[in-house]
């Protein structure tokens, strides 16, 4: 017998390679996210400053800088796919559990990003046409953009804290959420990094021959790095128990590079010192590596435990593998495109193979399934019943089958049970007393003409329309005598047998229709 395997247990690459790829791809993604966010924030701030100081003046530098956003955001999005893919394999347990908890906030990232990108594109393309409307678009776009890292940092922070999952699932974020400070600082750290890298990018890329912008960007870079150092220290304090020697070494290395960057950025140094292009990546990579080490350390035990549980489940389920595959094979061969298959699949469980209403599921029904073999009805009447079901009973509607399939089903019912055959003419005349009973009792629901009265139309299920459908004399007599359980049709066994017999004849006398195919 084939051993059943949970696909989650088949790892496409070794854990080491997985972590390596995750580091590289996430690093690239984060780099462009930070550049994009930094560009958005800085160009908006610079633009506001410039339109306040020089209203009505064209702003070629801001326009050029804002235009880079299109490229940066495109790369940020596309590069984000790989770490998303890798996380879903390497940390599937934490990833899917926490994104499930974040639910709507996680899903809101899609419309927020679309709105942010479109609004910022309007800002970038229209800033020299209408300054304030463009600024409004830019502001809204940046506001939408700033919400996204909040979701991501929150989700990552929670993924690393398995012990907090149950509380978060039950209560969400509340005043007692212990890791709230960590989340807030982590978010601010991302925004700070975006400002630092955004300022550095434009210092070297957009402001080469613009002394005024160069000076401003240097100040922003210096300020952002200083704020990063402070937030970083506070953030470190929230993860003290998780700090290991390699993590501390990496952070220390990054801090040294940060100190060197401060030295280079001091006011008397040249405008754009290219040594920064080496130092900033060192800070970025060392901090990111430290973060990933802590992340792995936090998530690995839960992932291993989840995989062990899956392996155990797979082992327990394995004996049922062949049976499941056999059932699947049968299902693949069963095509619901003909009346025979549809009847055997959908109708037989209640109405039975013989149509007598004695299928296996019929035992659960309070109102017995109709005895199809005893029915003699117009084809269109049965079609309507099959199509719409019968309210108040267990008979569902079958509009989920198209017209051709329902017609084929009707053909099957005709072939198997002669359901559309003509109703035999009355065997004899009926007694006036029986007609009196029909009028005074039966017609209250069935209507005097064999249709359905006002009272009957309000019943659930409503009585049948005798003008369009009938049952065999024996079946009618049985229903009149014993009633139809669960419906408004009570038994009339106290009436004389002759009267009941007459009533059966009467109920079958309204349908005057030729036999139909």
């Amino acid at each position: 017998m084939q051993q059943w395997t949970d696909v989650f247990l088949t790892m496409p690459i070794s854990p080491g390679w997985m972590q390596g790829l995750l580091f590289v791809t996430f690093g690239l993604h984060l780099l462009f996210v930070l550049l994009m966010l930094g560009t958005a924030l800085l160009t908006l701030v610079f633009f506001l400053r410039d339109i306040l100081r020089q209203p009505g003046e064209p702003q070629p530098w801001n326009e050029k800088a804002a235009h880079t956003h299109t490229g940066l955001k495109s790369l940020a999005v596309v590069l984000g796919v790989a770490p998303l893919l890798l996380m879903q394999v390497s940390h599937s347990n934490a990833f899917f559990t926490v994104t499930g908890f974040f639910s709507y906030a996680w899903l809101a990232v899609i419309p927020l990003l679309v709105a942010a990108f479109l609004l910022f594109d309007v800002f970038a393309h229209k800033m020299n046409v209408g300054a304030w409307p463009a600024f409004a678009c830019g502001l809204l776009g940046v506001a939408a953009l700033l919400t996204v890292p909040a979701v991501f940092t929150g989700a990552l922070a929670l993924m690393e804290r398995q012990e907090a999952w149950a509380d978060f699932a039950a209560h969400g974020v509340n005043a007692g959420t212990e890791w709230l400070t960590h989340w807030a600082l982590r978010y601010l750290h991302v925004v700070g990094a975006a400002l630092a890298l955004g300022a550095a990018f434009h210092l070297f890329f957009s402001a080469k021959n613009n002394l005024e912008k160069t000076a401003r960007l240097r100040r922003w870079l210096m300020g952002a790095l200083a704020v990063q150092a402070v937030i970083g220290l506070a953030l470190l304090a929230t993860v003290l128990p998780q700090l290991s020697v390699p993590v501390l070494a990496l952070i220390g290395f990054g801090a040294l590079a940060l100190g060197a960057a401060f030295w280079i950025l001091r006011p008397e140094f040249p405008a754009a010192d290219y040594r920064l292009l080496a130092l900033l990546p060192i800070i970025f990579v060392s901090m990111l590596l430290a973060r990933q080490l802590m992340q792995n350390q936090a998530m690995a035990p839960a992932q291993a435990e989840a995989l062990a549980q899956r392996a155990e489940r797979a082992k327990n389920l394995s004996p049922f593998s062949q049976k499941a595959l056999d059932a699947f094979s049968v299902k693949l061969r069963t095509v619901y495109d003909n009346g025979d298959t549809i009847y055997d699949g959908a109708c037989e469980p209640c109405h039975g193979a013989s149509g007598r209403g004695d299928g296996a599921e019929a035992a659960r029904l309070r109102i017995p399934a109709a005895d199809l073999a005893a029915m003699r009805a117009n084809r269109d009447y049965v079609y309507e019943m099959v199509r719409d079901g019968t309210p108040g009973t267990g008979m569902p509607y079958f509009r989920m089958y198209d017209r051709a399939k329902l017609e084929s089903l009707l053909d099957t019912m005709c072939k198997r049970f002669s359901m559309f055959a003509a109703t035999p003419p009355p065997a004899r005349d009926i007694a006036p007393a029986s007609l009196e009973v029909w009028t005074s009792a039966c017609a209250k629901c069935h209507a005097a003409n064999g249709g359905v009265s006002e009272v009957g139309r309000g019943m659930r299920p409503p009585p049948p329309d005798f003008r369009r459908g009938s049952v065999t004399h024996e079946r009618a007599l049985a229903i009149i005598t014993g009633g139809y359980p669960g419906t408004g049709m009570q038994g009339y066994r106290n009436l004389p047998e002759a009267v009941r017999d007459d009533l059966a004849i009467i109920s079958n006398s309204f349908r005057i229709s030729p036999p139909q195919q």
């Binding site: 696909v7 088949t10 790892m11 496409p12 299109t70 955001k73 495109s74 790369l75 596309v78 796919v81 790989a82 998303l84 893919l85 879903q88 394999v89 599937s92 899917f96 559990t97 994104t99 499930g100 908890f101 639910s103 996680w106 899609i110 679309v114 990108f117 594109d121 699932a169 549980q309 394995s318 004996p319 049976k323 499941a324 595959l325 059932a327 699947f328 299902k331 693949l332 061969r333 095509v335 699949g345 959908a346 469980p349 599921e361 019929a362 659960r364 029904l365 109102i367 079901g389 267990g394 008979m395 569902p396 989920m400 089958y401 198209d402 017209r403 051709a404 329902l406 659930r460 669960g486």
Partner: protein
């Protein structure tokens, strides 16, 4: 079920995924492949000395294309990951483990595509006069990367409907090189090219400011591209659907027309024929260089092509019915083997759910019933809303609902079987009866007012 179960109330999971996915398919196929190919053809013609108006047309289309594809197209593409990861984590998780490498390689193609598109866009002004050949090379590089990306994804999408021998053999080759891989590939590329040609045609007819002769030439090329793509798309569709098992395919009409229109036998074939006719007429109008006929026909043609994309994606997603991964996992993320084991042993489902939504103040039995609904039915049915179970079961008796729960997959073969113990079945029955009764109560006054 190892992860929290999330379903979108009122609108339903399917509709939310469809809104995102259809938008993404239209942009990624129609714009990123189709329209961009037209732009590169236009620019190549300009480079080969066929007139600078070709470059002018290409540049006018390029800006909006870059904005839409990089803002909406890319994000809705990533959005599919977000949505499926939240709404069907077991399903998408299984697919990622199985198709890690095609997806990872596709990521390289996707990245190359974006980098080449950005180069094409940012370097246009510099290269269009000095080195138009280099610009065309970048453009064709982009087209190659986007086609490669489309090819890679087709194997995975094909697997989701036609895994063929994989449930038994479980090899990657069986899964990836499945019978609908190649036709789906041609279908998506052909369809994308047709939409792209149609978009270029519509823009030329309505917006291209150029002398009549030049506009006529652009229109003619758009018409040619459209008429060239349509037979490829049609042939690929035919082969694709001929390879889908009949057990799935037979439900295509219900997938598209839903309950009421399924009873109009000629509706869908007629609507599809009319749509194809309009597309062909739009192509012929453009081929004849007629601006007014092109203007008149391109709008319904665009709307109908959007409808056909929706129709195809709806059919593809719906007809595989009870399976998220045929032969492996039911649509509600319960593996087939687990459903089989629970049915055989009569074990309950609830203890196997790691996470149950306990928010609110529901009594324990109702909360359990709600979790059973979410685990069994919530993937397709909302409690109340689109495909609401309250409406679907309105008027049915409790015993009838109980009976139906036992035969869901026989009643409608695209439904999953109920998974759970007899006691859980009773709990769910009561819950469903309450929902449907509430619906019937709400609907009764409205019906009386009518």
């Amino acid at each position: 079920m190892n992860f929290p179960i999330l379903h979108i109330p009122v609108v339903g999971d399917g509709m939310v995924i469809a809104l995102d996915a259809v938008l993404h398919v239209c942009i990624s196929h129609g714009l990123a492949i189709g329209l961009m190919t037209m732009i590169v053809i236009f620019q190549t013609l300009a480079w080969r000395g066929k007139g600078q108006f070709w470059a002018s047309a290409a540049r006018s289309l390029l800006g909006p294309l870059v904005v839409v594809t990089t803002s909406v197209g890319a994000v809705t593409g990533v959005g599919i990951w977000f949505l499926t990861g939240s709404l069907a984590p077991e399903g998408i998780g299984a697919l990622i483990h199985l198709f890690f490498w095609p997806w990872f390689i596709e990521w390289f193609a996707f990245t190359a595509e974006v980098i080449l598109l950005l180069c094409y866009y940012y370097l246009w002004n510099r290269l269009i006069t000095e080195k138009p050949g280099v610009l065309a090379a970048i453009g064709w590089g982009y087209v190659a990367a986007s086609v490669f990306s489309g090819i890679l994804i087709s194997g995975i999408l094909g697997f989701m409907l036609t895994p063929q021998g994989w449930p038994w053999g479980r090899t990657f080759a069986e899964a990836y090189f499945n019978p609908t891989f190649v036709p789906q590939c041609f279908l998506r590329l052909g369809g994308g090219m047709a939409i792209g040609a149609l978009l270029a045609l519509a823009w030329t007819a309505w917006r291209f400011k150029a002398p009549a002769e030049q506009r006529g030439r652009v229109l003619r090329l758009c018409g040619l591209a459209l008429l060239f793509s349509l037979p490829i798309t049609a042939a690929a569709s035919y082969i694709y659907f001929s390879r889908v098992p009949q057990t799935y395919l037979t439900h295509w009409k219900f997938a598209v027309a839903t309950s009421y229109m399924t009873q109009l036998p000629d509706f869908l074939p007629a609507a599809n024929t009319a749509a194809v006719l309009v597309l062909v007429l739009a192509g012929l109008a453009a081929l004849a260089r007629s601006p007014w006929a092109s203007r008149l026909l391109c709008i319904p043609a665009l709307l109908l092509s959007l409808c056909m994309v929706m129709e195809f994606e709806r059919v593809r997603e719906f007809i595989r019915g009870p399976y998220l991964v045929p032969g492996y996992m039911q649509a509600n993320q319960i593996p087939l083997v687990e459903a089989q084991a629970l049915a055989a042993t009569g074990q309950p489902l609830l203890p196997r759910l790691h996470w149950i939504n306990s928010s609110g103040t529901l009594p324990p039995a109702r909360q359990a019933a709600r979790a059973l609904f979410a685990a069994n039915c919530g993937v397709c049915h909302t409690e109340s809303g689109i495909n609401g179970i309250d409406q679907r079961l309105a008027g049915r008796s409790a015993d009838g609902i109980d009976a139906m729960l036992g035969i869901t997959e026989r009643l409608a073969p695209y439904m999953t079987p109920f998974v759970g113990s007899e006691q859980e079945r009773a709990l769910l029955t009561e819950y469903l009866f309450q929902l449907s009764s509430d619906y019937a109560r709400r609907a009764a006054p409205a019906a009386r007012e009518k």
